[in-house]
Amino acid sequence: MTSAKRKRDAQDAENTSPRKLRTQTVEEDENDSVSELEAQTPSRRGRGLLAENGTPRSILKKSGLANEFNATPKSNRRLLFATPTKAASDETPNGTPTIVRNADRSARRKSNRKLIDRTINGADSEDEALGEEDALAQQILSEEENEQARKQDKEADAQEAIPVPETPSKRPRGRPKGTGKNQLAAKARKEREPTPPNELPAHEEYFWQNRPGGSKTSNNTLTSQTLLNHDEYFETMQSYVDRHEPEKEYLLELHSRAYDQWIFELQEGFNICLYGYGSKRAITSEFAARTYQHLLDQAPYKGTKKTPKIVVVNGYTPGVTLKDILATIASAVIPKSGKLPNQTSSLLTCILDNLARDPPPHPLLVVINSVDAANLRKSAVQSTLASLAVHPSINLLCTADTPNFPLLWDVGLKAQFKFLFHDATTFASYSVEIDPVETVNELLGRSGRRIGGRDGVGFVLKSLPEHARALFRIIVAEQLALSYMDDGDQGDDEDPTATSQSKTNAPRAASEPTQGVEYRRLYRKARDEFVCTSEVVFRTLLKEFHDHQMIESRKDSMGTERLVVPFRQEELQTLLEELLLGDAF
């Protein structure tokens, strides 16, 4: 029987998904609901009606009817199991009207097919068909109710922001049979949520964690006191002693045993790339020292005052450019006379020409810490480095931090680089490479803390003239007003019953794309309030804010420039209060 088979298939499909437990419960539910239906005669009447009318349209009508007259047996049954609404919305808070429509459509098709099946297969399929029919109607009903329930549901709107791929097939599955035992099933699922099935293969885990609606996170937020600022962080870290210090020391010692080997490899014209977790600066600087010593003991330097040259590049430093690198290499390669070309490409050819014309007694060692740092990731930089590396008079020792760094180089570049890769896991903290406090703030969208939070802003504002302060006040006020407006809009069409708790969280999430004040609008506003008289003055004022990172400039989806004060709403409020009071700054 096809309908049953179809159903099987769908179930099987579910079986393959990680939720093994779930299918079990679903099966149980099915059994339950069947027995339920057998016991309850009224539901059979419902089926009779359906069978008479036949068309799916009638099912819809019926459902409408059923809603109106609450006395139909089905609604009775639903009332028996008191709170399907809440459970339902808990399961799938992502139900959108389209999904409902899809479900309807598929319901129509399904019921048609079922009718045909039944006439072909005769009565022996009656019982099962009955169960399904019933469940179908039930599903549509509960779908509708869901809609309402969702509107009332407060939790649900937090999920609103997560775009969930439409998977209509998945959705009706859980429901139809589950309606009877909705609560139980939902409860069971809820309990399962926090502990995903363990020992999944990596790809299954990926799909499990990316399943629609799969990631439910709490709405907890860090209070601004929890995160440490720079002073606190460094103060704490100074007294911190890592229990693994001896082991790390041992790791370094292990790597240091390979230095001679590396020197040999470099001599043979290979370049070296170190990877692995942990800062590798200690290794590179030690290796530089080792090579320095090694070279000092050799021909052109031994017994003379000449010293070998080793170029060190710190790729992780924020502003490092290709030009810096080339200039440093040029200073080591080219005798100090004459002017160096300005452009990087001609500087490169200049270096290479010099090396070819007048090769140094030994290859110049260039150490690059974090060759995969953001600044060096551009293909132009990498190809320049490659054309340096391919030169026999240049040895390259790089370190790479990110796990996917080999993607930086295509086959051609890789062939030029001629890298030998060594695992140099050190477990050392990236104390120089990154600024933890700043990185975390940025990660959590709290970059306003960069200038030392509100106090920092106050400090800057104090040093600025009156009209600058006024302008900043306008920006803050406008941004606040905008975000309130956004809230209002959202509340109206989607979330009339939002509580204060969800309100504090929602705006940030929802209004993010249109956050900030439009540049033009701000200028007009500022002119109106006699803060500035010309755009030039306006720009100068803004530049000051920019320089202190008090505002950020973003482009919205339309391409208009928007100015944003990088603070959270609560902080903005306090800021505005203080600005309005005036004496704070």
Partner: protein, 679 residues
């Protein structure tokens, strides 16, 4: 120093130096390292020469043709040219080797013809303007130094002198340059034509055509796909301006086969590369890189590792004397598994006397080593020759599927060839082979034995009476009156199947056609050849792993090779963070057997946060992450949170630095997960 962008290294103050030196110098167990490295450089230099010769041979034919093409298309006096001479160089899909190829080509073109040669890649040509700028710069800057700033200053001066100043993408610069440096032709090589914008190519052709009366352009296109698909990309109008000729470059897999033949499978190679490593290198070539350079680097690194890490390799020294070796070197030999086997064999024979001597006396061990190094080397080279012989025979018999020398060799070197179906099949077809084909086989073997691969190679010795067989066969064929070739008795064609019906049963019986006298004589030759060949293979194809001193003469370790050329950095990182104990080996965080217990509070903070990160979904609430972290690491009292928080912040920042998380705008205080472990 750590915060400055780039600097020249200066050694730290004096006092810190001794300790560092100690650390590195005390762990230096390499005795005779420099001696071994000397042997290395000598042997590698020979190999490198072989490689260079092979590469040049492989290239030279096509390059010669291209050069002739360039030379032939120099503008002549008789009238203006009507189209741009264009060379379509089909260089194959291994784009990594295109760069070196065009470089070599350029060198030869500038050396052998009076032309200026420029290579342009897609990277430096995003649009026509930049393309022309680069072109002009490359053609002209060889002689004059010009900088943008100077140009700006000097503008007024030049414009007054020679009319209006030319823009820097005007081909007039080139014209001016050619008037000062007369060249026969300007060869413009487009290295990766596929990567160029089609519109740019069309515009370029049009522009070059319009300058053709003043500038003698010759175009060379590097093509990775096919010349047809290249033609399809150009407009009909532009095509009319071109006059193309196709040049097929030897494909990289063929070159690698040649290199393989000249290096690994070469009979005189020393030390040999083992079959496992070889298989790995070849597979990598086939599946991933397709790059000749990379193959060479792989070989080189194998040689380097062999001599660097194996103290016993010192015995590969040319003209060894006992006094050259320290007792450590002999100790190294005594520790070899193959030495152990050797000794055990001797013990089984009851030769305790010599065993005792070998174990106690370096002198007698040296004698044995000296003898064996030569003997084993001979065995190995005859193994290599056998592989070559088999490949040659298959080639001249035209047996399908075609099996390359590299795969025959790999099987031979792992001792699998002797009983392989491959060999059996070849031998069977030799039995059946007709005289014309057999003559071809014998000829090719004779030529193989006369061949000298490499600069100082000796003649290859195949212990089969090839010459006698050859002569006999020749006289036999000459005496053969029939036009058809002679057939051996095993040839299927001399058999016919006879069906007879006896008492309603069909009987099939094979019937041998009567052999002529000549065929009989031929069959005798075939049988002799077959026998000699078989006994030769049986003698040559041994399992080399059983030989004494195998470890010294053959390098077959995949360990440093794989990690060094095919690293798995992501795996290393994930492993370090998921099971830090693997790296740290500390007492506190161990217990990796029981997976439930892996998350211990003693682990490094980043490792803990990473493992929590693994458990979470695509969106991670930093607050919850923090509370989970705090629950694992934190102290009980609420007051003392700041050390834990500092660790947490650092860990989270490190995850960001490693690219595992990124900011999420979906919810406040949330981060998005970027990587799944093990994918």
């Amino acid at each position: 120093m750590e915060h400055s962008r780039c600097y020249i290294y200066t050694p730290p103050e004096q006092e810190s130096r001794p300790s560092k030196r100690q650390r590195t110098s005390k762990s230096k167990p390499h005795t005779d390292l420099s001696e071994r490295l000397k042997i290395y450089s000598k042997t590698w230099a020979e190999q490198e020469k072989n490689i260079q010769i092979t590469l040049e041979e492989a290239d030279s034919a096509t390059q010669g043709k291209i050069i002739n093409f360039v030379a032939a298309n120099a503008p002549s006096e008789d009238g203006p040219r009507i189209s741009i001479p264009t060379g379509l160089i089909v260089a194959g899909p291994s784009i990594a080797s295109h760069g070196p190829y065009f470089e070599r080509l350029g060198r030869r073109i500038t050396d052998e013809t009076n032309s200026s040669y420029v290579v342009l890649t897609s990277g430096e040509s995003p649009n026509l303007k930049t393309f022309l700028k680069n072109l002009i710069k490359k053609i002209t800057s060889r002689t004059e130094e010009d900088d943008d700033d100077e140009e700006e200053i000097g503008r007024s001066a030049t414009s007054s002198r020679r009319g209006p100043k030319l823009l820097n993408f005007d081909l007039g610069h080139v014209q001016e340059w050619t008037s000062r440096n007369p060249v026969q032709s300007i060869v413009v090589a487009i290295q990766d034509s596929e990567a160029f914008d089609t519109a740019l190519l069309n515009e370029m052709v049009d522009l070059f055509y319009s300058w053709l009366d003043r500038l003698p352009f010759v175009l060379l296109f590097g093509i990775a796909t096919s010349s047809e698909s290249f033609e399809d990309r150009l407009l009909g109008k532009s095509l009319r301006y071109l006059e193309g000729q196709q040049f097929d470059v030897t494909q990289s897999d063929e070159i690698i086969e040649k290199l393989f033949c000249a290096t690994v499978a070469h009979p005189d190679t020393e030390p040999h590369i083992g079959p496992n490593l070889c298989r790995r290198i070849l597979e990598r070539q086939k599946d991933h890189v397709q790059n000749i350079q990379d193959f060479v680097h792989g070989l080189k690194y194998a040689y380097m590792s062999h001599f660097y890490a194996n103290p016993a390799t010192i015995f590969l020294k040319y003209d060894p004397k006992f006094k050259d070796f320290s007792s450590d070197a002999f100790e190294a030999i005594r520790n070899l598994p193959s030495f152990r086997r050797y000794i055990e064999e001797k013990l089984e024979d009851g030769d305790t006397q010599s065993v005792r001597q070998l174990l106690s006396s370096d002198q007698s061990l040296f004698a044995v080593i000296e003898e064996h190094v030569v003997a084993v080397q001979d065995i190995l080279s005859s193994l290599n020759i056998a592989a070559m012989v088999l490949t040659r025979i298959r080639e001249s018999l035209g047996i399908t599927p075609k099996v390359r020398l590299s795969s025959v060799w790999t099987r031979a070197a792992s001792g699998e060839l002797l009983d392989s179906p491959l060999l059996r099949e070849t031998m069977l077809s030799i039995k059946k082979t007709p005289s014309d084909k057999l003559a071809r086989v014998i000829d090719s073997l004779i030529s193989l034995s006369a061949e000298k691969v490499g600069p100082e190679a000796e003649e290859i010795d195949i212990p089969i009476e090839l010459q006698t067989l050859h002569c006999e066969l020749k006289t036999l064929i000459e005496n053969n009156a029939d036009s058809g070739p002679l057939r051996s008795q095993d040839d299927v064609r001399s058999e016919s199947v006879r069906t007879t019906v006896v008492a309603q049963k069909v009987l099939l019986s094979k019937h041998k056609a009567a052999l002529s006298e000549q065929d009989k004589a031929y069959s005798e030759i075939v049988a002799r050849f077959y026998q000699q060949l078989e006994s030769y293979f049986r003698f040559a194809l041994i399992d080399p792993k059983t030989l004494f001193l195998y470890e010294v003469l053959v390098y077959d370790l995949k360990s440093p090779h794989t990690e060094v050329f095919q690293p798995r950095p992501r795996l290393a990182l994930e492993r370090a963070l998921a099971t830090p104990h693997d790296y740290l080996g500390c007492g506190c965080c161990g217990n990796t057997q029981d997976r439930e217990n892996t998350l211990a509070g003693t682990q490094p903070a980043t490792a803990i946060v990473y493992q929590l990160y693994l458990e979470s979904g695509t969106l991670i609430n930093a607050t919850d992450l923090w509370s989970a972290f705090n629950a694992i690491v934190g102290k009980d009292d609420e007051e003392e949170q700041s050390p834990t928080m500092a660790l947490f912040q650092r860990a989270l920042a490190e995850l960001k630095h490693l690219g595992l998380v990124k900011p999420s705008r979906k919810k406040a205080d949330h981060v998005a997960k970027m990587m799944w472990k093990g994918l």
